[in-house]
Subunit: 201 residues, 2 copies
């Protein structure tokens, strides 16, 4: 049935966000028109402005929601061993990003299209997440189980490596996500670990 003037739907707001997420991820923010988003939702373009002030706010809200849920979802246990905490981070990061490919893509590709004010707010959230990892690396260095010259560099290196999974991993491929998680964990573990001390018997 065709949608007509006066129709209502309490879930149009979320559907606008879902349509924008999908289209921004697929074509890029600048290449998507408000009319395309409206068509995906099933309304006319003018109706979108009941749910967003403008196109920029739509982008910002999607990024902010993504980073908010990223920060909320990662659970770290400061009393656990650094190696166990790092393993948890690696597995969490891969899994969380794998479950939200569109949001991840937008969060990394559309930073340029944020206004300076919105960019600063998103970057602050991203830094908070990076700090969670760096805290773990610092703990490992402090107790001697990790050996990295600079924890900030190691943080960026690990996150870049893990996030890169989304550029090539496909569920239909030859490897399961569990296998991928395990292999990345082994590489990360070796990359940051101190050489074991071998006692001569």
């Amino acid at each position: 049935m065709a949608r007509t003037a006066g129709s209502h739907s309490d879930i149009t707001g979320p559907r606008v966000r879902a349509a924008a997420l999908k289209l921004f991820a697929r074509q890029g923010f600048a290449a998507v028109s408000m009319r395309e988003i409206a068509r995906e939702v099933g309304v006319q373009a003018g109706a979108l402005y009941n749910y967003t002030a403008d196109k920029q706010s739509l982008l910002f809200d999607l990024m902010q929601s993504h980073l908010d849920s990223l920060l909320a979802a990662f659970e770290d246990d400061p009393t656990a061993a650094p190696e166990a905490r790092l393993r948890q981070f690696v597995q969490f990061h891969i899994r969380f990003h794998h479950d939200r490919p569109d949001a991840v893509f937008i969060a990394y590709m559309e930073l340029r299209n944020l206004t300076p004010e919105n960019f600063a707010r998103i970057e602050a959230l991203r830094r908070r997440y990076e700090d969670r990892l760096e805290t773990i690396l610092k703990a490992g260095v402090a107790e001697g189980s990790f050996a990295v010259t600079d924890t900030k560099i190691a943080t960026m290196a690990v996150i870049a490596m893990l996030t890169g999974v989304s550029t090539w991993f496909r569920s239909a491929g030859r490897l399961s996500l569990d296998e991928v998680q395990e292999q990345y964990w082994q590489m990360v573990r070796k990359a940051v670990s101190a050489p074991a001390i071998h006692h001569v018997s």
Copy 2:
């Protein structure tokens, strides 16, 4: 002095490419208009079409040139030890990408904006580069100095890690590029190396 009709310049072609490179990297392909490129060059929009068939060709040419020079610049010595070859790759990749931030950015961010045919050609070039690294990893696994479960995964992990340098490294920062190269090399080396065999004396 204002440019007038009939002015000539034999280097307008390269300047069009340079302007497009800069603007595409800064704002994204879809957000840059032909008029903006023309303004950056100092000509009118119509004049651009003496140097490119259309906007898409401009993007494709920039990506292809970048990957061609990447492939031409990396020198690998198949007779050297795998660890030495890998070290050379790591240092080369970081340096080469650091020297061309705009081209790197475009090559990774604008794949969506290529036509399917152009996308396939660019992806083929990228895969050739990845294969250069995988060849090194396979050699190391074959001789026992490297221990990675899957060389394809390790290839993607290493390249993602190294390319990520461009997202945070600034020459004016507290670290020199030499220091960054050395620390990434240590992490990559440890990540792929087989544990040393410790002889009991």
